[in-house]
Amino acid sequence: MSQYIANTRIQQEDMLKEMGLRSMEDLFVDIPEEVRLRENLNLPEPLSEPELVSFMRRLARKNYNGNEFSCFLGAGAYDHFIPSVVDHLISRQEFYTAYTPYQPEISQGTLRSIFEYQTMICELTGMDVANASMYDGASALGEAALMACAAVKRNKVLVARTVHPESREVINTYCKFKGIEVVEFGFRDGQIDLEDLESRMSSDTAAVIVQNPNFFGVIELLKEAGEIAHRHKALLIASVDPISLALLKPPGEAGADIVVGEGQSLGNPLNFGGPYLGFFAVEKKFMRKIPGRIVGETVDNLGRRGYVLTLQTREQHIRREKATSNICSNQALCALAATIYLTLLGKEGLKEAAELSLQKAHYTYDRLIKTGKFSPVFNAPFFKEFVVKSRTPVSALNKKLFESKIIGGYDLAKSYQEIPGGWLVAVTEKPTKEEIDILVGKAGEI
């Protein structure tokens, strides 16, 4: 018997006997014979723990991991430094082996940490209300589009082409099945093209969706987009980088009605794309329209402060036919990691991480341009990520860098054919000047 099954054979037989049953078979009498599986599943032979450990170590070694490389690849998933405390604390069983806080009396840890998380997201984004988190940044955008259409009772969203390509795909999926029209608008010098946006606005436009900094790393024209959206009585949805918010104007101040974003940068490892978390924040007037879970403060029978899931109908109570969202969980442990990360970095540390990223990204950019092998693509200001045009094909460039233990930038040709040779380079606080100089040196040699 497996180590994960508690009862012994003898105990199982005793239990069956006590119920007046003869064998396990008697427990499965409701399953018609024609659908019973009478042979073993075709699965690999079970591994003992030492065998499993060595098998998985071998498998992990087939992946070249960022701890052995300098990583300059971003494009939506960033290699920011994670303090040791984060994993130490989220590894406490009381956090990770618990489920949804359905019983608040024995879930105050999860509930209070979510309340703290909601507060931090409101502080970063400048919004009034944040939920307990969504699956990731992209699905948060999909849900934001649906929420906007339901809130203003219109059926079209305009999405900037400077929004992450995968996010745009997810928005498309979420919208097309609900019969919502998705129209993209273009960019000019790396920022949204305001004329193009204006020309596509119409009386059925529910929302304008932009990303800041956008996929190219460029600081986006948030305020202008908001003005256009609001003039047409549509909402502005902004997807933002949480680290950038230590420096950049909160999107709430710039006029965003719904602010979402990918929260991975906040204490969550790259993990080959997941699990991450999406944050989701709105103005107070949309408090009751926000999808997902939300935690509120209240008191107990003795007047003591405590926290509960609130406003949202829970899983079993989602209004069946009127549902505007079906999400009934959050990425609690990832949100906890983000909360602990923001606690550790705090007011000053987050700003330092953001400024280090900003400085190092600009140093890298300037040095790359000086090699003469790369040319500027946009003149607009950027944060921690930028686009340069490479003379050598990007795939060859990245291959070469890999030999020097460098994971190079994202090949923009994959998603933007109009930017041939486009190389999207991300620089966090992690790479040292020495590592950057090696990158520049190797990239300049080619």
Binding site: A60, V85, Q93, A98, N172, A323, G346
Partner: protein, 485 residues
């Protein structure tokens, strides 16, 4: 106060809990890099604490939670089984955590192999052709599955198939997920044995039916023995049969949804395959489909050619993407190691153990608590506390009283079709001894309903907070901490 403090309330200006390197590149003025109009005027109010402050704060918070490692957690429908520690350790190897989703495929062959193998193994377990690992949770999987069904019908030109049938015993998310895919839902009643009412099902069939969403065993913990006939009715009407895998812990190696006639299946790796629930996530909700539906799966899928694995994005009929990248990869790693430790025999023993434990509890409590469907159940059993309710004590009170015994209460007031429902799912992880302790507590509570009802009505008595005022929370929402002016 301190015990109850929020992290913001223990903050002291100037205190720090981080250590970042000095800037080693020539520093420029921030305003020279980013125009002032884009910069924020005031810093966000984040905590300023020492590292030990932070560690103590979150350690204290954790102590206010009940986890599977704390004690029995028979939360019905949620499969709160043990989360093996080796899964945690192995999923934290650098080779799994420190890899970027856009790294060149040749540099992540281990990760791609893992995903490819997982697709194969979950296909085998469910009797499906292919499985996508992209959905992030059960409800996300449901939504993805519904979208696949919609895309399939539309591709065949059957755009009139806009109605999804959902039984009244279904999980609350089922109808909501169908609506996310653009379907209208039709509810069918359960029969007096707790299964789908065959006549009611027949009566709603038409060429407008896109399919039926079914959980089998259903939310009463009962296996629908008419499953083959149900499949026939749905298929004859041109519909697709959808399997909600929330209850898959009952059938591993015993029966496969594919063999029952299901066409689309979602699984919850955080329930059935031992990945932890994380306090509400991250989960993972892979979706498997039969051959005709493979073209509609989200992109990319992992394929294998000439000795190497690669991501195949060239899937013109795909519904697209429901999430960035490839799903909750690191959760998948934990389920993968679980399946590798269990093997075929082990998985069958999981379901046998889970079903045995549930039946044992039903057997030992049914003289005190009403068992509305008194027959062999699968991995969970559903009681009604109607007898106790008649004496003035509700299911909620009983659940709260269980807290005093150190148990997480079962799921309550679900399924909706049972009055005062109490849904117990013990899982195979629990020993007879822990079941007996739970049974003893439940019997004592039943006795208290007669002898000392206040004890139950005023429970819990020894938790960090008592019953919380949920009405107040909803009426006057306080959703964030505010700095004092």
């Amino acid at each position: 106060m301190k015990d109850n403090a929020l992290i913001f309330e223990i903050s002291k200006p100037g205190r720090k809990a981080y250590s970042l390197p000095d800037c080693d590149v020539p520093k420029q003025n921030v305003e020279d890099l980013i125009p002032g109009e884009y910069l924020r005027d005031t810093a966000p109010v984040l905590p300023e604490v020492s590292e030990l402050d932070a560690v103590r704060h979150f350690t204290r918070l954790s102590q206010l939670n009940h986890g599977v490692d704390t004690g029995f957690y028979p939360l019905g429908s949620c499969t709160m089984k043990y989360n093996p520690k080796v899964n945690e350790a192995l999923s934290r190897l650098d080779g799994f955590t420190q890899i970027h989703p856009y790294q060149d495929e040749t540099t992540v062959q281990g990760a791609l192999k893992l995903m490819y193998d997982m697709d194969k193994m979950l296909s085998e377990i469910t009797g499906m052709e292919r499985v996508t690992l992209q959905p992030a949770a059960g409800a996300h999987g449901e939504m993805t599955g519904q979208m696949i069904i919609k895309a399939y019908h539309e591709h065949r030109g059957e755009t009139q198939r806009t109605k999804m049938v959902v039984p009244d015993a279904a999980h609350g998310t089922n109808p909501a997920s169908a609506v996310m895919a653009g379907f209208d839902t039709i509810e069918v009643k359960s029969d007096d044995r707790g299964g789908v009412d065959i006549e009611a099902l027949k009566s709603v069939m038409s060429n407008e039916i896109a399919g039926l969403m079914l959980t089998n065993p259903n939310t009463l913990g009962l296996f629908d023995e008419n499953i083959k006939e149900i499949a026939k009715i749905v298929h004859q009407a041109g519909g697709i049969l959808y399997y909600d895998g929330a209850n898959a812990n009952a059938i591993l190696g015993i029966s496969r949804p594919g063999d029952m006639g299901f066409d689309v299946v979602h699984l919850n790796l955080h329930k059935t395959f031992s990945a932890p629930h994380g306090g509400g996530g991250p989960g993972s909700g892979p979706v498997g489909v039969k051959k005709e539906l493979v073209p509609f799966l989200p992109k990319p899928l992992v394929e294998f050619k000439e000795g190497s694995y690669y991501l195949d994005d060239d899937r013109p009929l795909s519904i697209g993407k429901v999430k960035s990248f490839y799903g909750n990869f690191n959760v998948v790693v934990k389920a993968y190691t679980y399946i590798l430790s269990m093997g075929a025999d082990g998985l069958r023993q999981v379901s046998e153990g889970a079903v045995l434990n549930a039946n044992y509890i039903a057997h030992k409590l049914k003289d005190k608590y009403l068992l509305p469907f008194d027959r062999v159940c699968m991995h969970e059993c559903v009681f009604s506390c109607q007898k106790q309710k008649n004496k003035g004590v509700s299911t909620l009170d009983i659940a709260k009283r269980l807290l005093d015994f150190g148990f997480h209460p079962p799921t309550i007031y679900f399924p909706l079709i049972v009055h005062e429902a109490l849904m117990v799912e013990p899982t195979e992880s629990e020993s007879k001894e822990s079941l007996d302790e739970f049974i003893k507590a439940m019997r004592q509570i039943d006795q208290e309903v007669d002898t000392d009802p206040q004890q139950v009505l005023e429970a819990p008595h020894n938790t960090s907070v008592g019953r919380l005022d949920e009405t107040l929370a909803a009426r006057k929402p306080v959703l964030r901490w505010m700095p004092k002016e």
